[in-house]
Symmetry: C2
Subunit: 443 residues, 2 copies
């Protein structure tokens, strides 16, 4: 185990600046950490008892070894506190406190002192000015975000704490699982490249997503990405892409967002997938967790002609092929579908289709290779069996492993079916355009 | 009142083919119509009693005048039934039954007969092969869709019944209000142009949305749009745009989707707004219901730097201007914001902003004209007051009428705030890209 392991999998954690006042960050962090299986030690120079635990006046009073120290005290006190942390030979440290280089000249000077202390030790430091880290597998929340996403395959690195909070809250509501979360803040030590390398070897991580405003060390970032992207998809939303975005980034972080062309070329060279929206960031990662790449040939199955036409448009517009059905497939489907089916791709199984008709088609498709992936469309018509049809799609995926995505369109009438799809790991989207837009990133 | 009025605002309705068997379309239609204030007469040659009402053996047995006849009998019987409808001098008629030109040669012949009967009368006909119509203002549901959207300003015309069902269900779930819904089916008589003209003069309609697969009479359509688009926004999703989409449309409706360039040029000339996705179709209509056009200059207010940068990127990419703040505005805001605010557009009011800081900014903006519209971003941080901030935005909108859109980002933490925004008619989106993409249509 190295410093990065101790950051995400600590057994003994000290919270320096743990507080019994609920409005303080040191309260929220300590409360969150109590939910984990790790042993947590509150350190506070004043408070006697915090959430039922007796506080240590100083880190050095703790007899046990400490794997991770989480610092929540005001910035001016941080250097002194940090000296104790180094003295105690703590393996990893998070400085949550703000008020450093992001806050002007005085803060910049404190950050310099912190840097000097850190450079003399072998301890790894995340921060300062971060939300913290979350490891759902261990129910470990070393941050002041009051929630716990479910366990999943995505590791999420955010350069903005506020955006981190919003997207964690969004992920919980949308039942999206995470392997890890980390906010990087001022990146005095640990930066994107360290985290990408670490998540690259983390067995719980199947895809890595980054929200980036500006890189401190582009070379190291690219090196890490080149290495990791061979085995895991790295997807990036880089803000400050346009002139207006750059101006906004400048007044936000006082950092130059950098030359767009250079970023784009470098991302491409390093095997990084770049997206424009937060939804694409998460959806692409969800798909990438299952399918490393996606081919160009789509097969569309639908119980409605209109949405099938819309889907054909969407996928062709995004550079996919909606090839006509091979003749032998038409013959096979003729035997199981009513006379008025489309006899082509999209396979329109007609509005009165029950789930058995979906099943008949997917049974044929299971043995075929003329397509790279499937889109299954369902609209809730009079005869439609949405739940059963969802199970048919799930069974097809589980049996064949072939990439299949769904658009079960509607509201309450497809609500339960969507849950069934989600339970079986099928990604459902509101409309075909969203699937096409997302899959472009995996071509 | 003309035939179109009797279609959407009938006082006396006969359901021909009303049925007591729940699996029949004639049962669903009759059941739905019983929810309205109109007087509804079941007609069925066999059944004695349907949902507590005694059925008439024939339409001609009804003594009262009939405004609207809804026909649900099998296609081959329709011509005979229709003769009675014409004889009875019914003002408007919906043929819900399928099995006409869309179903092959035999059906085409029946449709021809229906056409001959209709041409001899002054009655207006919707169909055949339609889902029906819905007028939420009158709680009138003359369709086999089992639901009622709330009342609102959008009139929705769909050439696909299945897509109609899906989007009605979606609208109900997403609490989107409709003025009217109509599915047009085979367009033997009433087509897009009739409906657009009618919704053009319907006082409940503030925007018209169309899902189009193929037009029968492009010239009439354009004429109607040219006339109506002067006062109301017409937004169209036209499927069959790409080669693959055209092939799919051909096998779906056996109609040629037509030449794309001609469609595009004609739409533009007729003042029609064309969109690519269903979400854009509805969101653009929602915005158009409030604001006829939107200028290019955006002012962004945010409690988080990252999302503000993302927003700047999104709007600049879509051709909007994120102009630097005028100096006098900076001075005014300096007085009400903390020292570390962005001093520029986006107006970053810093992560610890409570609702009073949003209010201070919007109080300044209320008196200014350097921007055409506002985007207010909120991420749920420790100090954030999402609900109160939502009320601040609503108050700004109600007081000034200036266009303002929001991105309250997150999940459960912004759930209540989103409801407050919706109640006050503020359109909230998950992320800035969605707002920009939608507003492009209103430039």
């Amino acid at each position: 185990m190295d410093g990065m392991d101790f950051l995400f999998k600590p057994e003994r954690i000290a919270v320096i600046g743990a507080s019994r006042f609920p409005e303080k960050v040191g309260y929220e962090v300590f409360k969150n950490l109590l939910q984990s299986d790790s042993k947590v030690y509150p350190v506070n120079i004043n408070d006697g008892e915090i959430l039922g635990k007796t506080a240590y006046k100083s880190l050095l009073e703790i007899e046990d070894e400490i794997d991770l120290a989480v610092i929540c005290v005001p910035a001016p006190i941080v250097p002194d506190v940090l000296k104790d942390v180094v003295k105690k030979k703590v393996k990893a440290c998070i400085i949550i406190s703000a008020g450093f280089s992001e806050a002007g000249e005085a803060g910049r000077k404190i950050e310099e002192k912190v840097g000097q202390i850190i450079r003399k030790s072998s301890m790894r430091l995340l921060g300062p000015n971060v939300l913290g880290i979350i490891n759902p597998t261990l129910k470990l929340n070393a941050s002041f975000f009051d929630g716990m996403p479910k366990q999943g395959g995505i590791s999420f690195i955010s350069q903005s704490g506020a955006l981190g909070v919003a997207m964690l809250d969004w992920a919980i509501k949308n039942d999206i699982g995470l392997a890890n979360f980390a906010s990087v803040g001022n990146m005095l030590d640990i930066d994107f490249s360290d985290l990408i390398e670490y998540f690259g070897r983390d067995e719980n991580t199947s895809a890595i997503i980054c929200y980036i405003e500006a890189l401190k060390d582009g070379r190291e970032f690219m090196k890490a990405c080149k290495k990791v992207s061979r085995s895991k998809r790295i997807i990036v939303l880089k803000a400050g892409r346009t002139a207006a975005g750059k101006r906004a980034a400048l007044s936000h972080t006082a950092s130059l967002a950098g030359d767009e062309d250079i970023y784009s070329a470098a991302f491409k060279q390093a095997g990084v997938t770049r997206v424009n929206t937060l939804k694409e960031l998460f959806n692409t990662a969800l798909a990438a967790s299952k399918f490393k790449t996606i081919g160009r040939n789509i097969c569309i199955v639908s119980n409605a002609g209109g949405p099938a036409v819309i889907a054909s448009d969407a996928f062709e517009r995004h550079g996919f092929n909606v090839e006509p059905l091979p003749k032998d497939i038409v013959k096979k489907l003729d035997k199981v579908l009513p006379a008025n089916w489309s006899e082509n791709n999209p396979i329109d199984i007609i509005g009165d289709a029950k789930s058995d008709r979906y099943k008949a088609v997917f049974d044929v498709l299971a043995a075929e290779n003329f397509f790279d992936f499937c889109l299954c469309i369902l609209t809730p018509q009079a005869m439609t069996q949405a739940d059963e049809s969802a199970r048919v799609v799930a069974e097809f995926y589980e049996k064949t492993g072939k990439p299949v995505f769904t658009c079960f369109m509607g509201g309450n009438k497809v609500e339960d079916a969507k849950k069934i799809l989600k339970e079986h790991g099928i990604l459902n989207f509101d409309e075909p355009e969203e699937v096409a837009q997302m899959l472009v990133n995996l071509k």
